[in-house]
């Protein structure tokens, strides 16, 4: 199993919601597959807990919404560590990144370090192309992930798991 797992998730048929898949395409081949594995998925399901449990670090890449409170603007990139949540939300089909980590911890006694890297989208309508603003920001997103991976791989031993 690779040391770093990148989980790119979203719906590539809903315009900017598929930006993580585009980032995954751009990252493909930049790292040794022995060190970095890239998974593309529409949503985070419980099965990912097992995959996550076998790596040192997980990076979740997703499109973010600009919320009504004015947090986040289209094209904005955010990156943050993910802590283990104290309480999980109700599950239907999809989990949050923190819930996947929590499930890996609960079922597999695994504590991978986890990060979230998001790019705020502008258009989530049906469509397979990115909005111009998000397309322009995509190289910066890829560079941010690449830099994070380089930094993580520079650790000789796995860093401690994030705390909530």
């Amino acid at each position: 199993m690779a040391r770093v797992l990148i989980i790119a998730y979203g719906n590539p048929m809903r315009s900017d919601d598929g930006l993580a898949w585009r980032a995954a395409d751009a990252l493909e081949g930049k790292f040794s597959s022995l060190q970095v594995e890239i998974v593309r998925t529409h949503q985070l399901a419980p099965e990912l807990a097992e995959t996550v449990s076998r790596c040192e670090t997980v990076i979740f890449v997703d499109a973010a919404f600009a919320d009504a409170m004015g947090n986040g603007s289209p094209g904005e990139i955010r990156s943050a560590p993910i802590g283990v949540p104290q309480a999980a939300s109700r599950f239907s089909h999809q989990l949050s990144p923190a819930a996947v980590i929590a499930l890996a911890h609960q079922l597999f006694s695994a504590g991978p370090r986890a990060f979230s890297v998001t790019l705020t989208g502008q258009c989530f309508d049906h469509g397979e192309s990115l909005s111009p603003l998000v397309a322009a920001a995509l190289p910066a997103l890829v560079a941010r992930i690449e830099a994070l991976v380089q930094q993580l791989l520079s650790f000789k031993t796995p860093p401690a798991c994030n705390k909530a």
């Binding site: 048929m13 998925t41 529409h42 949503q43 399901a45 419980p46 099965e47 807990a49 097992e50 309480a87 999980a88 939300s89 109700r90 599950f91 239907s92 089909h93 999809q94 819930a99 929590a102 499930l103 609960q106 079922l107």
Partner: protein
């Protein structure tokens, strides 16, 4: 209690799609009517018009992220009819393997991820903990088994189709690539663990049934017809065969019906309060022709499974009632027996000497202007019906989906549960959960049944006789 009231549950949780439930109260405050509303619309049948017929399997797979393989199979079979070809025997077997893997992972999702919180933690459990985390806390082995069994099915789909969701490996005339020896061996290697999971989950489920006697008695426990595809020898199948219908007493009402002539015996009715159409058996009319499809119906219409362990369990299942097994609570039980069957049948097919043959696709131009494909999806019988023009462009599409065929029974089930458990003009979590849980027995896929983009949720409304909303519960 105000005169004339209703309860609304909106959204319904732990199901596949977006819906709400309305419970109408009479002047005595008792539940008089219940409606399960599907509130999403997509209209795939119209979207496909004008597209080349050979695109249909890939387009149809996009209807659903849970059971795309079922749509691929039914669509490809309809296209086989348009080509008027007989697909190579190995392609037939490979499609069956694909379908069995899909049923396994879909049933695992339904049972372990969506319904096991009810079964393990109880119907009155705190909604905050009635989820996969609560299951993992109380019975980690069960939660792990769910994850591993679903992975087992998904990995077969990935090995054959190249990806877990929306694979395009099944094509008109067969499949696009043969099975490699390495992939066959990898799947065979994983079979014993999957079988062990199915066996111990079935034993666990049977040990819990006594705790749910009250739910079994009112969770869709009423007479209906049951419909499913069976093999020539009346054995269980998911891929091909004849339509068989039995009544509540277990007697065969119709046999040897041709699935491609479904329109002769299946009618569909549109209700103004839901985007989900209601199917009925035409000879009995609407609504008397209510019938159920899916795991419960398949085991009621099948005489045998054709694999050793599943046949033992089917015999025990048929002992539950001298008539057909009527309570929809037993969908869960049937689902587990089907998982057992799928794993056993996978082993038989993978050990077939022809399974690695390279001849997996028949190539032809369209030779017919109309084609029907039918198969058993995890949730029940699925029909795809296409008409094309001389250029091979789609002119008309009709899809009949399992959840629509269960719509009448689901509505009656909600009413039965609500009459038994809902009292007064306020909803308690236990009442709400049982109303939801009876729907989960059917494992409805609302994305499929409305061919719609899915959001996951449910809403329940309690309405007075004059339409006033007395109580409303919504869950994200």
């Amino acid at each position: 209690m105000k005169q004339g009231s209703s309860i609304v549950i909106d959204p319904v949780t732990r199901i596949e799609g977006h819906s709400k439930i309305t419970l109408h109260l009479n002047e005595d405050g008792r539940v008089e009517e219940a409606r399960f509303h599907v509130t999403q619309f997509r209209g795939f049948e119209k979207l496909c018009e004008g597209r080349p017929f050979y695109e249909m399997p890939s387009l149809m797979a996009r209807i659903c992220g849970i059971c795309p393989v079922s749509h691929l199979i039914a669509s490809a079979k309809a296209c086989d009819s348009l080509l008027a070809v007989r697909i190579p025997p190995t392609a037939d077997k490979l499609r069956r393997i694909f379908g069995l893997a899909q049923v396994t992972q879909s049933h695992a999702l339904s049972l372990f991820h969506l319904s096991s919180p009810d079964l393990l933690l109880g119907m009155d459990a705190d909604p905050a903990t009635s989820n996969i985390f609560g299951v993992a806390e109380k019975n980690p082995e069960l939660a792990l088994d769910g994850i591993r069994l679903r992975q087992f099915g998904q990995r077969i789909i990935e090995r054959l189709g190249g990806k877990r969701i929306h694979p395009a490996w099944i094509v008109p005339g067969g499949v696009s690539e043969p099975l490699t020896e390495a992939n066959r061996d990898a799947i065979l290697w994983a079979l014993p663990d999957a079988l062990a999971i199915a066996e111990r989950t079935l034993e666990w489920f049977k040990s819990t049934m006594e705790r749910f006697r009250e739910e079994i008695s009112v969770f869709g426990n009423f007479p209906t017809l049951f419909m499913g595809i069976v093999k020539k020898d009346n054995g269980l199948t998911f891929y091909d065969g004849k339509i068989r219908i039995v009544d509540a007493s277990g007697h065969v009402v119709a046999d040897d019906l041709d699935p491609t002539q479904y329109f002769d015996y299946i009618g569909e009715k549109v209700e103004p309060w839901s985007y989900l159409k209601s199917s009925y058996y035409k000879p009995k009319g609407f609504p008397d022709g209510v019938y159920r499809v899916g795991p419960l119906a398949r085991l009621n219409v099948a005489d045998r499974c054709g694999t050793p362990r599943a046949d033992q369990e089917l015999a025990e299942f048929h002992e539950l009632q001298r008539t057909a097994v009527l309570s929809s609570f037993h969908y869960h039980h049937a689902r587990l027996i089907e998982i057992l069957y799928c794993i056993e049948r996978l082993e038989q097919l993978l050990n077939d000497p022809e399974i690695l043959s390279k001849h997996v696709r028949a190539v032809a131009r369209p030779n017919a202007l109309e084609g029907v494909g039918a198969a058993e999806a995890p949730r029940g019988t699925l029909f795809h019906h296409y008409k094309i023009d001389e250029q091979g462009l789609i002119r008309w599409v009709n899809l009949i989906i399992a959840t629509g065929q269960n719509n009448l029974a689901m509505n009656r089930s909600v009413l039965q549960v609500a009459k038994h458990f809902v009292h007064g003009n306020r909803l308690t979590p236990g009442m709400l959960n049982r109303v939801e849980a009876v729907i989960r027995c059917y494992d409805p896929c609302l994305s499929c049944s409305t061919h719609a983009l899915g959001e996951m949720a449910l809403r329940v409304q309690l309405l007075s006789p004059d339409g006033e909303v007395l109580d409303e519960v919504a869950r994200p």
